[in-house]
Each structure stands twice: as C-alpha cells, then as structure tokens.
Symmetry: C2
C-alpha cells in the first residue's frame, strides 16, 4: 500500500538535521555512481510553469519524481516514490515544506564542505520563504554567532531578523543594503528572484563562501560576472541542470569569464574526491540548482519515519 503525506505531516516529521543527513548520504551515493538524475523540464501554463524532475537510487530501493505547477496563485508540489524491486508506488508526498528544507540543506552541505571551519557570520540577501531554511542550514553546520539580512522591503527584513534571531538563538540584524548585509561576513547567501545581480565582485572579501540559492532560470542572475570570476572554487549540485538554468554561470561562460571545465559537482567534494577549498583566502561558490535526487533522498527518509510512526494516509487501490 502506498502512503500519502500532507504538508502538515511532513512539517511535523522533518527537521533540518534529518534533511542534512539525508543529503550527505545521497551526495556520497551519487559520487559512487549509484544515483540517476533527470534535470528539471518545464512546460508553460497560463501565467506560470509546470515542472518535472526525476531521480533514481536503486541501491536505496527507490525511484521517483517531483512535479509542481507554479503560477500566480502559488505552487503545489508533490513527490512520488516507487520501489525499484517491483513494489509499485510507495508514496505521494506533498512537497512544499520538504522542498524548502531540502534547498536549505543543500546549502548546508555545501557550507559544511566549502566554508572555512571557523566561519561565524552570515550575510543573507533575500528574506522570502526560502531564506529561513538557508540560514537555519548554515547555522546547523557552522558555529554561527551573527547574521545580517537585506531585502528590498524594510518591514520584511526586520520581521525576518526578529523571527530568525529567536528561532536560531543568534543575533540576526536587518541591513539597509546588500553591501551592508554581506560586508565582513564569512558566509553569504543569495536567495532572491533577482533578474539583475544583487551580489557583485566588489562586495566580496577573500575567504568568503557563497551559497547562490535563488530562482533557477537562465534569465536571472544573482551574481555579476566579476563575482563569478573571483570565485576560486565553483560547485553545483548538478552540472546538467546548471548548464541550462544557471544564468550567472551561463553569462560568465559566454563572455569568457568562466569555463565549464572549472565547475565541480558537490558530491565529489562531499566524498573527498575534490577539494571544496584549497586555502583560507579562497572565495568559494555553491550554485544551488535544486535537483530531484535531493528530493528523493529526503522523501525516502520521510517515508521511513512515517511508516515507523504510523503517520499518513494509505492510498486506495
């Protein structure tokens, strides 16, 4: 019998620690060649798009996909898991909250393996739905003491700072510009839907780690070409998807400021096959694409937890 998990049930089961552990495992498995992945495909619909991405992890016994219809009225996300040994459908999981946590966790994994060990401060540009889990994830892998947040609306950045100060028990302050938010910090997170760059090379100090986690589209850029060119190590969760969706790297490559040969798969860094940082002064950049095998890994963990705890609704059939 297949299990249906609602957003509320997922929210009760899922913690950042669980997501980080699931992603660490699946990145290692991927570096062993155990994981298959199909990059996001899109179909335009009315005022939005329909998105579909899939992955397989036969050694863990699972294969599946995430689909979502995103439009003016918000988005509706679902993950379906199938067994790889003839079990058929295992689960349908509402995946809005799940996606928010796994996207944070992907930046957490990158930060774990790429940022300086002693990193203690974060500057975050963007204060939307995805920003909370970004900060939470970074704080889960480094001993973060303080953070600064900038977004265009003062009210929203103030509210984010208050909320996250309390939730993470660290000092989170609003900043009144992107420059101010990232000045002097050890880790930068960009998590915007910016069309034009919000983070420029001029704003970067040596030794900083950057998680670029904003909207995926070749039409958008969060970093300018100078910032890309300044990055000593550039990693991503999926190279195929990066080459068709990562506007800032595509632009930098097209203009001769970046070579795709330099792009490293994060799973190789997690596995220790490549270095995430060669020296303290390196600028390191993680380009987060949000990939199906990440969804699969977190949902597989959720399914096991739900089964164990008796949570969820059995589907008919």
């Amino acid at each position: 019998m297949a299990l249906y998990l609602t957003e509320d049930q997922v929210n009760n089961l899922l913690t950042m620690e669980i997501a980080l552990e699931s992603l660490d495992k699946v990145f290692r498995a991927r570096s062993e060649g155990e994981v298959g992945n199909i990059p996001r495909a899109r179909l335009p619909i009315g005022r939005g798009s329909y998105n579909l991405m899939a992955a397989s992890w036969p050694k863990a016994g699972i294969v599946g996909h995430k689909s979502y219809a995103a439009g003016a009225g918000g988005a509706s996300f679902h993950v379906m898991l199938y067994g790889t040994n003839g079990e058929g459908l295992l689960a349908v999981i509402e995946a809005n909250r799940m996606g928010q946590v796994r996207t944070g966790a992907a930046s957490g994994i990158a930060t774990r393996y790429m940022a300086r060990e002693e990193a203690s401060s974060v500057g975050i540009i963007g204060s939307g739905y995805q920003a909370e889990t970004q900060l939470e994830a970074v704080a889960a892998v480094r001993d973060i003491k303080s953070a600064k947040v900038f977004s265009r609306t003062a009210e929203r950045r103030n509210s984010f700072a208050d909320r996250m100060s309390e939730r993470l028990s660290i000092d989170v302050q609003p900043a009144d510009s992107a420059e101010a938010a990232v000045q002097g910090v050890d880790v930068i997170v960009t998590v915007t839907n910016a069309v034009d760059p919000v983070l420029t090379g001029e704003m970067l100090d040596h030794g900083v780690h950057i998680n670029a986690a904003g909207g995926n589209s070749w039409m958008r850029r969060e970093l300018d070409t100078h910032a890309v060119a300044m990055s000593d190590i550039v990693a991503t969760d999926d190279i195929d998807q990066t080459r068709i969706e990562c506007g800032e790297l595509m632009r930098a490559a097209e203009t001769g400021h970046f070579s795709w040969e330099r792009l490293i798969r994060l799973d190789r860094i997690v596995r220790g096959l490549r270095q995430g940082r060669t020296q303290p002064g390196d600028v390191t950049l993680f380009e987060s694409q949000g990939v199906a095998f990440e969804d699969l890994a977190v949902c597989n963990t959720l399914l096991h937890m739900a089964r164990k705890q008796g949570v969820g609704t059995e589907l008919p059939g």
Copy 2:
C-alpha cells in the same frame, strides 16, 4: 480537493468510445498549437526502468504527467493532473488500464484517418495485454467483419481469438504464422516486443494500413526496412519521441531507406492539414509511440466523469 481513482474505478468508467473521442479532440487541439508535450524519459532501475512523460493543455485547464516503474514484477502506472489556473493537484489516477485503452485508441484514430473506408479485415501480430484494445479500437472505427491473430504460443492466440470473437461479435481466427495472419487483410496491427522484425515488406499488399504499436525502444523493430520503405504515408503521434525510440524508422533512416522529412504528425492528418492516404493502393503506416498528451486527454475526461458520478476517493491535504 484532489481525487484518487483506482484501476477498478477507471475500468468501470472508461470505454473505447470515450477514449477515441478524447484523443480525437486532443489531436485537433495539438494541431492548433494548444498542446505541449515532453517525450518519455527513462531511468534504469534494477531489472526494469522508470518512465516519465508530461504534457500540457492549458486551454482545457490541465497539465500533468504519467510515471511508471516497469520491471520483472509488472508495472505500476500513475497519471497526475494539475490545474493550469492555480487549482493545484486535481487527480492521481492509476493508469494501467487507462494506458491500454488509450494506446488502442491512438491506433483507432490513425485507422479512422488513414485506412481505406471499406476496410473490413484485420491481421494482428501479438496477443498480449495491449492486443485486445488494438483490435477493439480498429473495430470501433471501421466495419470489421473478420480478424486473424498470430502470436508464438498457440494456446495464447487461440484464447485471444475466442475471447475477442465473443467480445467484439466478429469472426476472429488464430493463424499459425505472421504471414498467414496478415495475408489479404485491410488493416495490420503489430503489437509485440519483437527485437527482430515480425512484419516484412514481402508480406504487404497494396492498400493496407498498418498500426505499429509494439514496444518502444530503439533496440526493437516490428517492421523490416523494406516494409518501411514500401509505406507511402508514415505518421506518428509524436516526432520527437519517434526519433529517439522508434527502432524501425531509426534503422531505415540510418540506412537511407527512409527520410525523417517524410514523417507526418498524426494530429495534422486528423485536422485535415495533411492527407492520411492519397489513393486506395497506398500503404499507410502509423508508428504509435504512446505520448503523454494522449494520457492527459483521456484522464481529463475520466476526471470529469468521476466528479459527475461521485466516483473516487478525495485525497487528504
């Protein structure tokens, strides 16, 4: 609220007539540019494969996908439908029976627009799960009086002949070779998983219409190159998918016996933009790929019927 439909519920709702009507509509819509389609993508799993294909039809208010894990233990198919105007998930539909009927119906539509009007006999090679709906669909669009069936196991072709004679009230006879099954018939159906051709050019008479509906893989061929070369009109439900999955056309093209420029989209024939047959003596060939927009169209109809009749289970969430 989204609706879940089981195989039994689908089986009770769906008839060949309904599937034919749904496909006729969606082919017309596609020829108007109203339909988007993403060809089947596959991931290998254990002893089988995981398959994912998607389509959109915003004018009908729907977008969605079909996924299935196929392996030694059978296959498990599901279609998910989303609204294109922010409605979120509309339905999860078990799609094994649905796929069987829609694949038959696609051949039915091709036969309706490509076979001679007076066609009255069918030769079918293959007697498996998909063969029944192939014959049913052809019999639904032409005044079929008789059919012959060949498959390798005598017991299975005898049982198919008995079963379908009764179900369709026509004379269905087993044949003891592929040659005998197709000799002198007006419509040929191949619906096998053959690796090597079961239908050769030598077996073809002028004026015949062929539905090639068997397994989709570039490694398989149901027709030999001579049979492809003899076909005056060659149509398919999706050109993109044909170019990566249709072994017999790929082989014929590679060896210079077929030009992709000759391949016609069935929707253009349905719409009357292209001729499905120019003269009675033409050999016409429909290469059925099985495409997501066909699933979407039939499932959309099923969903409307289920809502109207109060069938199905509301999903939580």
